[in-house]
Protein backbone atom coordinates (compact mmCIF):
# COMPACT_ATOMS: atom_id res chain seq x y z
CA UNK A 1 0.00 0.00 0.00
CA UNK A 2 2.70 2.50 0.97
CA UNK A 3 4.54 1.53 -2.23
CA UNK A 4 1.44 2.37 -4.24
CA UNK A 5 1.16 5.78 -2.57
CA UNK A 6 4.87 6.36 -3.16
CA UNK A 7 4.52 5.74 -6.88
CA UNK A 8 1.34 7.84 -7.01
CA UNK A 9 2.98 11.02 -5.71
CA UNK A 10 5.30 12.15 -8.56
CA UNK A 11 2.59 12.69 -11.19
CA UNK A 12 0.42 15.20 -9.27
CA UNK A 13 3.55 16.99 -8.04
CA UNK A 14 4.75 17.30 -11.63
CA UNK A 15 1.34 18.58 -12.75
CA UNK A 16 1.36 21.24 -9.99
CA UNK A 17 4.87 22.25 -10.99
CA UNK A 18 3.79 22.55 -14.62
CA UNK A 19 0.87 24.73 -13.51
CA UNK A 20 3.15 27.05 -11.53
CA UNK A 21 5.54 27.28 -14.46
CA UNK A 22 2.77 27.94 -16.98
CA UNK A 23 1.34 30.78 -14.90
CA UNK A 24 4.80 32.18 -14.20
CA UNK A 25 5.75 32.28 -17.90
CA UNK A 26 2.33 33.63 -18.93
CA UNK A 27 1.59 30.59 -21.10
CA UNK A 28 -1.96 30.79 -19.80
CA UNK A 29 -4.05 33.79 -18.82
CA UNK A 30 -6.61 34.23 -15.99
CA UNK A 31 -5.37 31.18 -14.10
CA UNK A 32 -4.26 32.13 -10.57
CA UNK A 33 -0.90 31.13 -9.17
CA UNK A 34 -0.68 28.18 -6.80
CA UNK A 35 -0.14 30.22 -3.63
CA UNK A 36 -3.25 32.27 -4.41
CA UNK A 37 -5.33 29.09 -4.72
CA UNK A 38 -3.69 27.75 -1.57
CA UNK A 39 -4.75 30.84 0.35
CA UNK A 40 -8.27 30.58 -1.04
CA UNK A 41 -8.48 26.96 0.01
CA UNK A 42 -7.25 27.80 3.49
CA UNK A 43 -9.65 30.73 3.79
CA UNK A 44 -12.57 28.67 2.48
CA UNK A 45 -11.83 25.97 5.01
CA UNK A 46 -10.73 27.95 8.08
CA UNK A 47 -11.21 31.69 7.35
CA UNK A 48 -8.94 34.50 8.58
CA UNK A 49 -7.52 35.67 5.23
CA UNK A 50 -10.13 37.31 3.00
CA UNK A 51 -12.99 37.58 5.53
CA UNK A 52 -15.64 37.50 2.80
CA UNK A 53 -18.89 35.56 2.38
CA UNK A 54 -16.95 32.37 1.60
CA UNK A 55 -14.51 32.43 4.50
CA UNK A 56 -14.75 29.33 6.69
CA UNK A 57 -17.86 28.16 4.82
CA UNK A 58 -16.50 24.78 3.70
CA UNK A 59 -18.53 22.70 6.14
CA UNK A 60 -21.80 24.42 5.21
CA UNK A 61 -21.31 23.89 1.49
CA UNK A 62 -19.71 20.48 1.68
CA UNK A 63 -22.43 19.34 4.07
CA UNK A 64 -25.18 20.61 1.77
CA UNK A 65 -23.69 18.90 -1.30
CA UNK A 66 -22.88 15.66 0.49
CA UNK A 67 -26.36 15.46 1.94
CA UNK A 68 -27.92 15.88 -1.53
CA UNK A 69 -25.55 13.34 -3.04
CA UNK A 70 -26.26 10.79 -0.33
CA UNK A 71 -30.03 11.27 -0.42
CA UNK A 72 -30.25 10.93 -4.20
CA UNK A 73 -27.83 7.98 -4.14
CA UNK A 74 -29.68 6.26 -1.29
CA UNK A 75 -33.05 6.55 -3.04
CA UNK A 76 -31.52 5.20 -6.24
CA UNK A 77 -29.99 2.24 -4.39
CA UNK A 78 -33.14 1.43 -2.43
CA UNK A 79 -35.30 1.39 -5.57
CA UNK A 80 -32.88 0.09 -8.22
CA UNK A 81 -31.46 -2.92 -6.36
CA UNK A 82 -34.78 -4.69 -5.61
CA UNK A 83 -36.18 -3.78 -9.03
CA UNK A 84 -33.00 -5.04 -10.69
CA UNK A 85 -33.14 -8.33 -8.78
CA UNK A 86 -36.76 -8.90 -9.80
CA UNK A 87 -36.05 -7.91 -13.41
CA UNK A 88 -33.01 -10.17 -13.58
CA UNK A 89 -35.00 -13.18 -12.35
CA UNK A 90 -38.37 -12.55 -13.99
CA UNK A 91 -38.51 -12.70 -17.79
CA UNK A 92 -41.96 -11.15 -17.94
CA UNK A 93 -41.16 -8.19 -15.70
CA UNK A 94 -38.00 -7.66 -17.69
CA UNK A 95 -39.95 -7.75 -20.98
CA UNK A 96 -42.45 -5.27 -19.53
CA UNK A 97 -39.81 -2.75 -18.43
CA UNK A 98 -36.94 -3.13 -20.92
CA UNK A 99 -38.41 -0.85 -23.59
CA UNK A 100 -39.28 1.95 -21.17
CA UNK A 101 -35.85 1.88 -19.60
CA UNK A 102 -34.05 1.76 -22.94
CA UNK A 103 -35.98 4.85 -24.05
CA UNK A 104 -35.55 6.84 -20.84
CA UNK A 105 -31.94 6.03 -20.12
CA UNK A 106 -30.33 7.88 -23.06
CA UNK A 107 -31.92 11.18 -21.93
CA UNK A 108 -28.97 12.98 -20.30
CA UNK A 109 -29.46 14.36 -16.79
CA UNK A 110 -28.73 17.86 -18.11
CA UNK A 111 -31.79 17.49 -20.35
CA UNK A 112 -33.86 16.70 -17.27
CA UNK A 113 -32.78 19.90 -15.50
CA UNK A 114 -35.33 22.38 -16.94
CA UNK A 115 -38.27 20.02 -16.48
CA UNK A 116 -37.29 19.05 -12.94
CA UNK A 117 -36.79 22.72 -11.99
CA UNK A 118 -40.22 23.68 -13.33
CA UNK A 119 -42.01 20.77 -11.70
CA UNK A 120 -40.17 20.65 -8.37
CA UNK A 121 -39.09 24.28 -8.18
CA UNK A 122 -35.73 25.79 -7.39
CA UNK A 123 -34.15 24.19 -4.39
CA UNK A 124 -32.56 21.22 -2.77
CA UNK A 125 -35.29 18.81 -3.80
CA UNK A 126 -34.63 19.27 -7.51
CA UNK A 127 -30.93 18.60 -7.01
CA UNK A 128 -31.71 15.39 -5.12
CA UNK A 129 -34.09 14.26 -7.86
CA UNK A 130 -31.52 14.92 -10.57
CA UNK A 131 -28.93 12.95 -8.61
CA UNK A 132 -31.44 10.15 -8.20
CA UNK A 133 -32.06 10.03 -11.97
CA UNK A 134 -28.34 9.88 -12.70
CA UNK A 135 -27.58 7.25 -10.06
CA UNK A 136 -30.56 5.02 -10.79
CA UNK A 137 -29.56 3.51 -14.16
CA UNK A 138 -26.03 2.31 -13.39
CA UNK A 139 -27.27 0.57 -10.24
CA UNK A 140 -30.26 -0.96 -12.03
CA UNK A 141 -28.33 -2.19 -15.06
CA UNK A 142 -25.48 -3.63 -13.01
CA UNK A 143 -27.91 -5.37 -10.69
CA UNK A 144 -29.79 -6.93 -13.61
CA UNK A 145 -26.53 -8.04 -15.24
CA UNK A 146 -25.24 -9.42 -11.93
CA UNK A 147 -28.43 -11.37 -11.31
CA UNK A 148 -28.46 -12.82 -14.82
CA UNK A 149 -24.86 -13.93 -14.35
CA UNK A 150 -25.52 -15.83 -11.12
CA UNK A 151 -24.19 -19.35 -11.83
CA UNK A 152 -27.15 -21.63 -12.47
CA UNK A 153 -25.28 -24.29 -10.49
CA UNK A 154 -25.74 -22.28 -7.28
CA UNK A 155 -29.45 -21.84 -7.97
CA UNK A 156 -29.76 -25.59 -8.60
CA UNK A 157 -27.80 -26.37 -5.45
CA UNK A 158 -30.03 -24.14 -3.35
CA UNK A 159 -33.19 -25.53 -4.96
CA UNK A 160 -32.27 -29.16 -4.22
CA UNK A 161 -31.48 -28.17 -0.63
CA UNK A 162 -35.06 -27.01 -0.17
CA UNK A 163 -34.83 -23.26 -0.77
CA UNK A 164 -38.10 -21.45 -1.46
CA UNK A 165 -38.43 -18.88 -4.24
CA UNK A 166 -38.22 -15.90 -1.93
CA UNK A 167 -35.32 -17.32 0.04
CA UNK A 168 -33.59 -17.94 -3.28
CA UNK A 169 -33.52 -14.18 -3.96
CA UNK A 170 -32.22 -13.26 -0.52
CA UNK A 171 -29.90 -16.18 0.20
CA UNK A 172 -28.43 -16.95 -3.22
CA UNK A 173 -29.19 -14.41 -5.94
CA UNK A 174 -28.45 -11.30 -3.88
CA UNK A 175 -25.12 -12.48 -2.42
CA UNK A 176 -24.00 -13.89 -5.77
CA UNK A 177 -24.84 -10.61 -7.53
CA UNK A 178 -23.26 -8.36 -4.88
CA UNK A 179 -19.96 -7.65 -6.68
CA UNK A 180 -21.86 -6.44 -9.73
CA UNK A 181 -24.32 -4.43 -7.61
CA UNK A 182 -21.42 -2.74 -5.77
CA UNK A 183 -19.74 -1.93 -9.08
CA UNK A 184 -22.97 -0.22 -10.19
CA UNK A 185 -23.22 1.68 -6.89
CA UNK A 186 -19.67 2.92 -7.30
CA UNK A 187 -20.32 4.25 -10.79
CA UNK A 188 -23.55 5.81 -9.54
CA UNK A 189 -21.83 7.57 -6.67
CA UNK A 190 -19.34 9.08 -9.10
CA UNK A 191 -22.22 10.29 -11.29
CA UNK A 192 -23.93 11.73 -8.22
CA UNK A 193 -21.02 14.09 -7.57
CA UNK A 194 -21.04 15.14 -11.22
CA UNK A 195 -24.73 15.89 -11.10
CA UNK A 196 -24.75 17.69 -7.77
CA UNK A 197 -22.74 20.48 -9.43
CA UNK A 198 -25.30 20.69 -12.23
CA UNK A 199 -28.16 20.61 -9.75
CA UNK A 200 -26.68 23.31 -7.57
CA UNK A 201 -25.89 25.67 -10.43
CA UNK A 202 -29.36 27.17 -10.25
CA UNK A 203 -31.65 28.06 -7.44
CA UNK A 204 -29.72 27.02 -4.35
CA UNK A 205 -27.40 29.20 -2.26
CA UNK A 206 -25.51 26.39 -0.54
CA UNK A 207 -23.40 23.57 -1.89
CA UNK A 208 -20.06 23.34 -3.65
CA UNK A 209 -21.83 23.61 -7.02
CA UNK A 210 -23.39 26.91 -6.07
CA UNK A 211 -20.02 28.18 -4.80
CA UNK A 212 -18.48 27.41 -8.19
CA UNK A 213 -21.24 29.11 -10.18
CA UNK A 214 -21.26 32.16 -7.91
CA UNK A 215 -17.49 32.35 -8.19
CA UNK A 216 -17.87 32.35 -11.95
CA UNK A 217 -20.22 35.33 -11.74
CA UNK A 218 -17.66 37.33 -9.77
CA UNK A 219 -14.80 35.94 -11.88
CA UNK A 220 -12.98 34.51 -8.87
CA UNK A 221 -10.97 31.73 -10.49
CA UNK A 222 -9.20 30.82 -7.25
CA UNK A 223 -12.57 30.15 -5.63
CA UNK A 224 -13.71 28.12 -8.66
CA UNK A 225 -10.63 25.93 -8.38
CA UNK A 226 -11.15 25.68 -4.61
CA UNK A 227 -14.69 24.38 -5.20
CA UNK A 228 -13.41 21.92 -7.79
CA UNK A 229 -10.71 20.67 -5.43
CA UNK A 230 -13.17 19.98 -2.64
CA UNK A 231 -15.63 18.21 -4.97
CA UNK A 232 -12.78 15.99 -6.11
CA UNK A 233 -11.78 15.26 -2.52
CA UNK A 234 -15.36 14.61 -1.45
CA UNK A 235 -15.93 12.22 -4.38
CA UNK A 236 -12.72 10.41 -3.53
CA UNK A 237 -13.68 10.17 0.16
CA UNK A 238 -17.20 8.86 -0.44
CA UNK A 239 -15.85 6.29 -2.91
CA UNK A 240 -13.45 5.04 -0.23
CA UNK A 241 -16.23 5.09 2.37
CA UNK A 242 -18.44 3.02 0.08
CA UNK A 243 -15.63 0.50 -0.36
CA UNK A 244 -15.10 0.26 3.40
CA UNK A 245 -18.84 0.05 4.01
CA UNK A 246 -19.10 -2.81 1.53
CA UNK A 247 -16.30 -4.69 3.23
CA UNK A 248 -17.94 -4.23 6.63
CA UNK A 249 -21.38 -5.16 5.30
CA UNK A 250 -20.09 -8.38 3.73
CA UNK A 251 -18.00 -9.02 6.86
CA UNK A 252 -15.00 -9.73 4.66
CA UNK A 253 -16.62 -12.79 3.17
CA UNK A 254 -15.32 -13.96 -0.18
CA UNK A 255 -17.79 -13.11 -2.94
CA UNK A 256 -18.00 -14.79 -6.31
Amino acid sequence: MSRRIFWGVPLPVALLALWALAVDRNWVRLIPQLDEVGKEIWDFAFGGIHDDAYSASLLTHLGASASRVLRGFAWATVLAVPLGILMGRNQRLSAMTDLTISLLRPVPVTAWVPLVLIVFGLGSRSAVILIFIAAFYPILLNTVAGVRAVPSRLVEAAAMLGTSRRQMLVRVVLPAALPSIFAGMRIALGFAWVVVVVGETVGVSTGLGSVISEAREISNTALIITGMAFIGLAGFATDRLLGTGVRLATRRRPLI
Binding site: L154, E156, A157, A159, M160, L161, R171, P175, L255
Partner: protein, 273 residues
Protein backbone atom coordinates in the same frame (compact mmCIF):
# COMPACT_ATOMS: atom_id res chain seq x y z
CA UNK B 1 -21.93 -59.11 4.19
CA UNK B 2 -23.09 -55.59 3.65
CA UNK B 3 -24.41 -56.44 0.21
CA UNK B 4 -26.39 -59.36 1.54
CA UNK B 5 -27.93 -57.16 4.22
CA UNK B 6 -28.89 -54.67 1.56
CA UNK B 7 -30.47 -57.29 -0.64
CA UNK B 8 -32.57 -58.49 2.32
CA UNK B 9 -33.89 -55.05 3.13
CA UNK B 10 -35.47 -54.33 -0.25
CA UNK B 11 -38.99 -53.15 0.53
CA UNK B 12 -42.21 -52.83 -1.41
CA UNK B 13 -41.97 -49.14 -2.40
CA UNK B 14 -38.74 -48.50 -4.27
CA UNK B 15 -36.70 -45.43 -3.39
CA UNK B 16 -36.78 -44.36 -7.02
CA UNK B 17 -38.83 -45.66 -9.91
CA UNK B 18 -38.52 -44.69 -13.55
CA UNK B 19 -41.35 -45.83 -15.78
CA UNK B 20 -40.99 -45.50 -19.54
CA UNK B 21 -38.95 -42.32 -19.13
CA UNK B 22 -37.85 -40.45 -22.24
CA UNK B 23 -36.46 -36.99 -22.86
CA UNK B 24 -36.45 -34.90 -26.01
CA UNK B 25 -34.57 -31.59 -25.97
CA UNK B 26 -35.17 -28.86 -28.45
CA UNK B 27 -31.93 -27.55 -29.89
CA UNK B 28 -31.04 -23.94 -29.18
CA UNK B 29 -32.00 -22.73 -32.68
CA UNK B 30 -35.53 -24.01 -32.13
CA UNK B 31 -36.79 -26.69 -34.47
CA UNK B 32 -34.31 -29.57 -34.27
CA UNK B 33 -35.15 -32.21 -31.69
CA UNK B 34 -32.54 -34.06 -29.66
CA UNK B 35 -33.70 -37.48 -28.47
CA UNK B 36 -31.55 -37.82 -25.37
CA UNK B 37 -33.30 -40.77 -23.72
CA UNK B 38 -36.03 -43.24 -24.53
CA UNK B 39 -37.93 -45.97 -22.69
CA UNK B 40 -36.01 -46.05 -19.42
CA UNK B 41 -37.56 -48.49 -16.92
CA UNK B 42 -35.65 -48.78 -13.69
CA UNK B 43 -36.40 -49.22 -10.00
CA UNK B 44 -33.86 -48.42 -7.32
CA UNK B 45 -34.40 -50.10 -3.96
CA UNK B 46 -34.02 -48.43 -0.59
CA UNK B 47 -30.37 -48.55 0.54
CA UNK B 48 -29.20 -49.62 -2.88
CA UNK B 49 -26.07 -48.16 -4.44
CA UNK B 50 -26.73 -47.95 -8.16
CA UNK B 51 -24.17 -46.84 -10.73
CA UNK B 52 -25.16 -45.45 -14.12
CA UNK B 53 -22.24 -46.30 -16.39
CA UNK B 54 -21.75 -45.21 -19.97
CA UNK B 55 -19.80 -43.05 -22.40
CA UNK B 56 -20.43 -39.36 -22.73
CA UNK B 57 -23.66 -38.27 -24.41
CA UNK B 58 -25.72 -41.37 -23.56
CA UNK B 59 -27.97 -39.39 -21.24
CA UNK B 60 -26.65 -40.26 -17.75
CA UNK B 61 -26.74 -36.67 -16.52
CA UNK B 62 -30.14 -36.08 -18.10
CA UNK B 63 -31.53 -39.12 -16.30
CA UNK B 64 -30.08 -37.98 -12.98
CA UNK B 65 -31.36 -34.44 -13.49
CA UNK B 66 -34.86 -35.78 -14.10
CA UNK B 67 -34.76 -37.66 -10.79
CA UNK B 68 -33.45 -34.46 -9.18
CA UNK B 69 -36.34 -32.51 -10.70
CA UNK B 70 -34.14 -30.10 -12.69
CA UNK B 71 -35.57 -31.50 -15.95
CA UNK B 72 -39.04 -32.85 -16.65
CA UNK B 73 -39.37 -36.09 -18.63
CA UNK B 74 -40.98 -35.77 -22.06
CA UNK B 75 -42.57 -39.20 -21.62
CA UNK B 76 -43.03 -41.51 -18.66
CA UNK B 77 -42.98 -41.09 -14.90
CA UNK B 78 -40.32 -40.50 -12.27
CA UNK B 79 -41.29 -41.18 -8.66
CA UNK B 80 -39.33 -41.06 -5.41
CA UNK B 81 -40.74 -43.18 -2.56
CA UNK B 82 -43.94 -43.44 -4.58
CA UNK B 83 -44.36 -39.67 -4.99
CA UNK B 84 -44.12 -38.26 -8.54
CA UNK B 85 -41.20 -35.86 -8.84
CA UNK B 86 -42.25 -32.23 -9.27
CA UNK B 87 -39.19 -30.02 -9.24
CA UNK B 88 -36.11 -30.21 -7.04
CA UNK B 89 -36.46 -30.86 -3.31
CA UNK B 90 -34.49 -31.72 -0.18
CA UNK B 91 -35.50 -35.40 -0.34
CA UNK B 92 -33.13 -35.72 -3.33
CA UNK B 93 -29.64 -34.47 -2.53
CA UNK B 94 -27.50 -33.76 -5.56
CA UNK B 95 -23.69 -33.83 -5.58
CA UNK B 96 -22.30 -32.07 -8.65
CA UNK B 97 -18.94 -32.64 -10.26
CA UNK B 98 -18.13 -28.94 -9.73
CA UNK B 99 -19.30 -29.03 -6.07
CA UNK B 100 -21.72 -26.06 -6.29
CA UNK B 101 -20.79 -24.76 -2.82
CA UNK B 102 -21.77 -21.24 -1.82
CA UNK B 103 -18.46 -19.35 -1.86
CA UNK B 104 -19.61 -16.69 0.63
CA UNK B 105 -20.55 -19.25 3.27
CA UNK B 106 -18.14 -21.14 5.52
CA UNK B 107 -17.94 -24.92 5.46
CA UNK B 108 -20.25 -25.13 8.50
CA UNK B 109 -22.72 -22.67 6.98
CA UNK B 110 -22.75 -24.59 3.70
CA UNK B 111 -23.59 -27.79 5.59
CA UNK B 112 -26.23 -25.99 7.66
CA UNK B 113 -27.80 -24.35 4.60
CA UNK B 114 -30.36 -27.09 3.90
CA UNK B 115 -31.53 -27.61 7.50
CA UNK B 116 -31.81 -23.82 7.90
CA UNK B 117 -33.86 -23.38 4.73
CA UNK B 118 -36.18 -26.11 5.93
CA UNK B 119 -36.75 -24.10 9.10
CA UNK B 120 -35.13 -26.42 11.64
CA UNK B 121 -34.49 -24.83 15.06
CA UNK B 122 -30.98 -23.43 15.52
CA UNK B 123 -29.90 -26.14 17.96
CA UNK B 124 -30.89 -28.90 15.53
CA UNK B 125 -29.08 -27.15 12.69
CA UNK B 126 -25.92 -26.95 14.82
CA UNK B 127 -26.21 -30.61 15.79
CA UNK B 128 -26.60 -31.66 12.16
CA UNK B 129 -23.63 -29.51 11.14
CA UNK B 130 -21.42 -31.04 13.85
CA UNK B 131 -22.48 -34.56 13.00
CA UNK B 132 -21.81 -34.31 9.27
CA UNK B 133 -18.67 -32.22 9.68
CA UNK B 134 -17.14 -35.03 11.69
CA UNK B 135 -18.58 -37.71 9.38
CA UNK B 136 -16.53 -36.27 6.50
CA UNK B 137 -13.59 -35.45 8.80
CA UNK B 138 -13.64 -31.67 8.38
CA UNK B 139 -14.15 -30.50 12.00
CA UNK B 140 -11.00 -28.38 11.82
CA UNK B 141 -12.31 -26.54 8.76
CA UNK B 142 -15.72 -25.46 10.07
CA UNK B 143 -15.00 -21.75 9.64
CA UNK B 144 -13.00 -22.07 6.42
CA UNK B 145 -14.40 -20.80 3.12
CA UNK B 146 -14.71 -23.31 0.24
CA UNK B 147 -12.20 -21.54 -2.01
CA UNK B 148 -9.47 -22.26 0.55
CA UNK B 149 -10.06 -26.03 0.36
CA UNK B 150 -8.73 -28.65 -2.05
CA UNK B 151 -11.12 -30.23 -4.54
CA UNK B 152 -11.47 -33.40 -2.50
CA UNK B 153 -12.28 -31.43 0.65
CA UNK B 154 -14.81 -29.29 -1.21
CA UNK B 155 -16.52 -32.44 -2.44
CA UNK B 156 -16.62 -33.74 1.15
CA UNK B 157 -18.41 -30.53 2.14
CA UNK B 158 -20.86 -30.99 -0.74
CA UNK B 159 -21.59 -34.55 0.40
CA UNK B 160 -22.03 -33.48 4.02
CA UNK B 161 -24.30 -30.65 2.87
CA UNK B 162 -26.80 -32.96 1.19
CA UNK B 163 -26.58 -35.65 3.89
CA UNK B 164 -27.55 -33.01 6.47
CA UNK B 165 -30.97 -32.95 4.77
CA UNK B 166 -31.41 -36.70 5.37
CA UNK B 167 -32.41 -37.28 1.73
CA UNK B 168 -34.32 -40.31 0.43
CA UNK B 169 -31.73 -40.65 -2.29
CA UNK B 170 -28.31 -39.22 -3.01
CA UNK B 171 -27.78 -38.27 -6.68
CA UNK B 172 -24.15 -37.97 -7.69
CA UNK B 173 -23.05 -36.90 -11.19
CA UNK B 174 -19.41 -37.90 -11.75
CA UNK B 175 -18.62 -36.40 -8.33
CA UNK B 176 -14.97 -37.45 -8.35
CA UNK B 177 -14.37 -36.77 -12.05
CA UNK B 178 -12.42 -33.57 -11.40
CA UNK B 179 -10.16 -35.07 -8.72
CA UNK B 180 -6.69 -36.56 -9.09
CA UNK B 181 -6.63 -40.35 -9.06
CA UNK B 182 -5.25 -40.77 -5.51
CA UNK B 183 -7.85 -38.42 -4.04
CA UNK B 184 -10.48 -40.15 -6.12
CA UNK B 185 -9.64 -43.55 -4.64
CA UNK B 186 -9.74 -42.15 -1.10
CA UNK B 187 -13.06 -40.49 -1.79
CA UNK B 188 -14.54 -43.69 -3.25
CA UNK B 189 -13.52 -45.59 -0.15
CA UNK B 190 -14.89 -42.95 2.22
CA UNK B 191 -18.14 -42.63 0.29
CA UNK B 192 -18.65 -46.37 0.52
CA UNK B 193 -18.06 -46.33 4.28
CA UNK B 194 -20.47 -43.43 4.76
CA UNK B 195 -23.18 -45.04 2.67
CA UNK B 196 -22.77 -48.38 4.48
CA UNK B 197 -23.03 -46.59 7.81
CA UNK B 198 -26.01 -44.37 6.95
CA UNK B 199 -27.65 -46.91 4.62
CA UNK B 200 -28.09 -44.18 2.04
CA UNK B 201 -29.71 -44.88 -1.31
CA UNK B 202 -27.40 -43.64 -4.06
CA UNK B 203 -27.60 -43.12 -7.80
CA UNK B 204 -24.06 -42.53 -8.96
CA UNK B 205 -23.13 -41.51 -12.50
CA UNK B 206 -19.70 -42.45 -13.80
CA UNK B 207 -17.92 -43.31 -17.02
CA UNK B 208 -15.28 -45.31 -15.15
CA UNK B 209 -15.85 -49.07 -15.18
CA UNK B 210 -13.56 -49.53 -12.21
CA UNK B 211 -15.36 -46.90 -10.16
CA UNK B 212 -18.70 -48.54 -10.93
CA UNK B 213 -17.53 -52.03 -9.96
CA UNK B 214 -15.89 -50.67 -6.80
CA UNK B 215 -18.96 -48.81 -5.54
CA UNK B 216 -22.11 -50.35 -6.97
CA UNK B 217 -24.55 -52.95 -5.73
CA UNK B 218 -25.86 -52.84 -9.26
CA UNK B 219 -24.36 -51.36 -12.42
CA UNK B 220 -26.66 -50.06 -15.13
CA UNK B 221 -24.81 -49.78 -18.42
CA UNK B 222 -26.24 -47.15 -20.71
CA UNK B 223 -25.66 -46.82 -24.42
CA UNK B 224 -26.80 -44.86 -27.44
CA UNK B 225 -27.16 -41.10 -27.39
CA UNK B 226 -27.97 -38.47 -30.00
CA UNK B 227 -24.40 -38.47 -31.32
CA UNK B 228 -24.64 -42.14 -32.34
CA UNK B 229 -28.12 -41.79 -33.80
CA UNK B 230 -30.23 -43.64 -31.20
CA UNK B 231 -31.69 -42.21 -27.99
CA UNK B 232 -29.88 -43.16 -24.79
CA UNK B 233 -31.13 -46.42 -23.31
CA UNK B 234 -30.28 -49.14 -20.80
CA UNK B 235 -27.90 -51.66 -22.31
CA UNK B 236 -27.39 -54.07 -19.40
CA UNK B 237 -28.00 -54.35 -15.66
CA UNK B 238 -25.30 -56.19 -13.72
CA UNK B 239 -25.40 -56.90 -9.97
CA UNK B 240 -22.09 -56.71 -8.12
CA UNK B 241 -22.11 -59.04 -5.10
CA UNK B 242 -18.62 -58.43 -3.74
CA UNK B 243 -17.86 -57.60 -0.13
CA UNK B 244 -16.85 -54.10 1.00
CA UNK B 245 -14.19 -52.85 0.79
CA UNK B 246 -13.52 -54.37 -2.59
CA UNK B 247 -10.13 -55.51 -3.75
CA UNK B 248 -9.64 -53.99 -7.18
CA UNK B 249 -6.89 -56.52 -7.96
CA UNK B 250 -8.97 -59.63 -7.23
CA UNK B 251 -9.94 -61.98 -10.08
CA UNK B 252 -13.68 -61.56 -9.33
CA UNK B 253 -13.37 -57.79 -9.55
CA UNK B 254 -11.53 -57.98 -12.85
CA UNK B 255 -13.93 -60.54 -14.26
CA UNK B 256 -16.79 -58.05 -13.71
CA UNK B 257 -14.72 -55.27 -15.21
CA UNK B 258 -14.04 -57.40 -18.30
CA UNK B 259 -17.72 -58.23 -18.66
CA UNK B 260 -18.75 -54.56 -18.49
CA UNK B 261 -16.00 -53.41 -20.82
CA UNK B 262 -17.09 -56.00 -23.38
CA UNK B 263 -20.65 -54.63 -23.28
CA UNK B 264 -19.52 -51.02 -23.48
CA UNK B 265 -17.09 -51.59 -26.34
CA UNK B 266 -19.58 -53.90 -28.02
CA UNK B 267 -22.18 -51.16 -28.06
CA UNK B 268 -19.80 -48.53 -29.31
CA UNK B 269 -18.42 -50.68 -32.11
CA UNK B 270 -21.94 -51.77 -33.06
CA UNK B 271 -22.87 -48.11 -33.23
CA UNK B 272 -19.88 -47.36 -35.44
CA UNK B 273 -20.95 -50.00 -37.93
Amino acid sequence: MQTAARAMSITATPAVSLDGVGKVFRSADGEKKVHALDGIDLTIAEQEFLCLLGGSGCGKSTLLRMIAGFETPTTGQVAVRGEPVRGPGPDRGVVFQDYGLFPWLTVAENIGFGPRRRGLPGADVDAAVQRFLSLVGLERFATTFPAQLSGGMQQRVAIARVLANDPAVLLMDEPFGALDSLTRETMQHELQQICDELRTTVVFVTHSVEEAVYLADRVVVMGGGPSVGTPGHVELVLPVALEHPRDITSPEFNELKRELLAVIHGTSTAALR
